[in-house]
Symmetry: C2
């Protein structure tokens, strides 16, 4: 990315104007220039000038006025919309057993998608980079184009990720710690990559096209092998100072409690993660040995008291964790999102009841809890949305640099 000196405040204003106008057009779908001026507070003359720039750069296009469906007085107004063909963006979610990829146009319309199985969940860095490139190549091929056609890639992975620095402190997909994954991917991919924690990308997807569309303050809790959290405050992902906030799974729910995979004690994940449930279930060697959640669930359904007790405690610990999130954030909405609805011990009505019981009670309605079952491709869509956002902001900066 080219660097320029400090922009003048007029330059900044123009850059803000471009970003604002692109955002308004994206949100509206299509919108006339005069309505852009109303929505942004930017003067009509400036809107005309900026949209002319964006048109000539091919980022937006004019929509032929619709003269049939509505009776209008005067000349029909030409609307503007984002030009889909301006960019192709990929979104990837690296999960335990798969890499899910989606490629969209600049509007966000899906052009191709692919789920590629992974043999190993945790890989050394060069292998992860190679697998990511492979997943992108496969998906491009399905869409009838090549990896060089991509303008940007959004990538979500589990773990502690500093999105701004594109740096991974730790991820369940990587053998190494403290990896400059942005740099490593820059060496194998022909376009910029934007990383984030996967739960943040789910939060972004929920905000852009899911249950958080009408809401600017909400929390997403993701449930996979572990639990994650994405926080949206004032319409933006909250990432914390070092990019590693929202560590829901490693908040402590018991002083000196159960040992967690992270090496500490008493983490929520050490009570609700898959490994934690199996560890508990298998303490007694006389019983059936469970190697998966599925067998544990079946045992509980068949009345096995120990299996029931294991799932029961996980549910209660999780409900307590949720209650703490409500006590701290007092959000409008909590979205429980995941792809494993078969195992409902963390989603059931009972979880929500218990959570409500442990929340500070005031004479006002509790936050809404929404359960949103979606697959890895939706996570990948969140990653693509992040890619689109970052490519847009980079394009706007390049404009400003060219003008400076």
């Amino acid at each position: 990315m080219a660097r320029s000196g400090k922009l003048s405040s007029t330059g900044d204003q123009r850059e803000n104007g471009r970003q604002q106008i692109l955002d308004v057009i994206r949100t509206a779908g299509h919108i006339a220039r005069i309505d852009i001026a109303k929505a942004t507070g930017v003067s009509p003359a400036t809107v005309t000038a900026i949209t002319a720039e964006l048109l000539s750069a091919g980022l937006i296009e004019e929509v032929a006025p619709d003269t049939t469906s509505e009776i209008r007085r005067g000349r029909p107004r030409v609307a503007l919309k984002i030009r889909g063909a301006a960019h192709r963006i990929a979104g990837l979610k690296v999960a335990h057993h798969t890499i899910s990829t989606v490629i969209t146009d600049f509007v966000g319309k899906e052009l191709a998608s692919h789920e590629m199985p992974l043999i190993k969940g945790r890989m050394p860095l060069p292998e992860l980079c190679a697998q990511i490139r492979r997943a992108l190549e496969f998906t491009c091929q399905k869409g009838g184009f090549v990896i060089e056609d991509l303008s940007g890639v959004g990538l979500g992975l589990a773990g502690m990720v500093d999105a701004e620095r594109k740096f991974v402190y730790w991820s369940s997909s990587l053998e190494e710690r403290n990896v400059d994954l942005g740099q490593a991917l820059a060496e194998v991919l022909p376009c910029p990559v934007f990383l984030d924690n996967d739960a943040n990308l789910v939060a972004k997807a929920e905000h852009l096209f899911g249950e958080g569309r009408t809401c600017d303050n909400f929390i997403v809790i993701t449930i996979e092998h572990g639990v994650g959290m994405g926080i949206v405050i004032d319409g933006k992902i909250y990432r914390g100072k070092r990019g590693c906030g929202a560590e829901f799974g490693h908040t402590k729910v018991h002083l000196e409690g159960a040992l967690c995979q992270c090496g500490q004690r008493g983490c929520l994940e050490a009570y609700v993660g898959d490994y934690a449930l199996l560890r508990e279930a298998n303490i007694s060697s006389g019983n059936e040995r469970h190697t998966s959640l599925l067998s544990l669930f079946k045992a509980a359904e068949n009345g096995d008291a120990m299996a029931r007790s294991v799932l029961d405690r996980a549910r209660r610990m999780f409900a307590m964790g949720l209650a703490n999130v409500v006590n701290i954030f007092d959000p409008s909405k909590i979205i429980l999102a995941g792809a494993r609805m078969t195992f409902d011990h963390l989603y059931s009505d009972k979880v929500i009841e218990e959570m409500q019981q442990w929340v500070v009670h005031v004479d006002a309605p509790l936050p809404e809890v929404i359960i949103h079952d979606w697959g890895d491709l939706m996570w990948a869509n969140g990653a693509a949305a992040y890619g689109i956002e970052e490519v847009t902001s980079q394009t706007v900066k390049e404009f400003a640099n060219a003008a400076a």
Copy 2:
């Protein structure tokens, strides 16, 4: 407050401009018009027009150019500053045994202060309103003016307060629950009142003139009889949807744990609050009966194993709660603020060490922990700052309404 119809976007821009310009002048102390234009991005012509309005309304004043201390080419520039005499604002903090009051001018300069003892900590609504009026009258008298000279009052109290609705769900100072305290005070005071949770006002004071001055993302934990939290995100107090977020003291640190005054189990306060320590310390009737933290501390100092154990667990639970705040917010800074530094079980180096041990570890420095010992008058200053902020924004709105 007068209500107007929806403002036009031009009106909104003008209102934003006035607010921005007042904020920039307040932050700078004194600043020339041209530098205001640079700092805000508002055009010099608009800055001149808006500052003319603000001057004629008496909210700001010109500062004679300083021609002696600096050699300047050309005509010396006139600077602008907030006019202290424009308003007198009071800030109050209602604590368990006192009401602390400070009266400042519109710049924030203290004109008078007073600490009034309270006989009862928890009062019925009419009595609390009467005590607040009495505290204001006393303080005004000390300053040589009358209560009618006040333009606004900022008020902080412990409990669950919806600042926007001026509504108190619950407060340790009030016998009733769900009280429209804003309305009740409007009936006994001659000027507008702005309420907030006291920890939020400490956070505001820290942000404006304390340890959070250089920082836009930090957490304040207040330690009095209970523990409170104020959250500053992007320079603003984070209050949550219903105005009752940041409930640190009632986050659960133990599933089905110790009974809390709030009626629930396992709250942090049920392990670290004064009542919780004394309850623990006095379970054994054979031992010395403690009626205050002071006697408990003395016993621990004299080697009483039970007293030590009580303080020890409180410290560990508190450190765990702090670690959870770091895991969730990943703030730049945590400020532990309070007025009871004699009892250091929640402030000691050991607390901070243990907290650091329980925080998710990444290859980046941990947030700074600052211990800030201050008295109730500093809390009152936070309340006054809130009053100044709200009176400013109300004045700006009145301008806009007059212009509409």
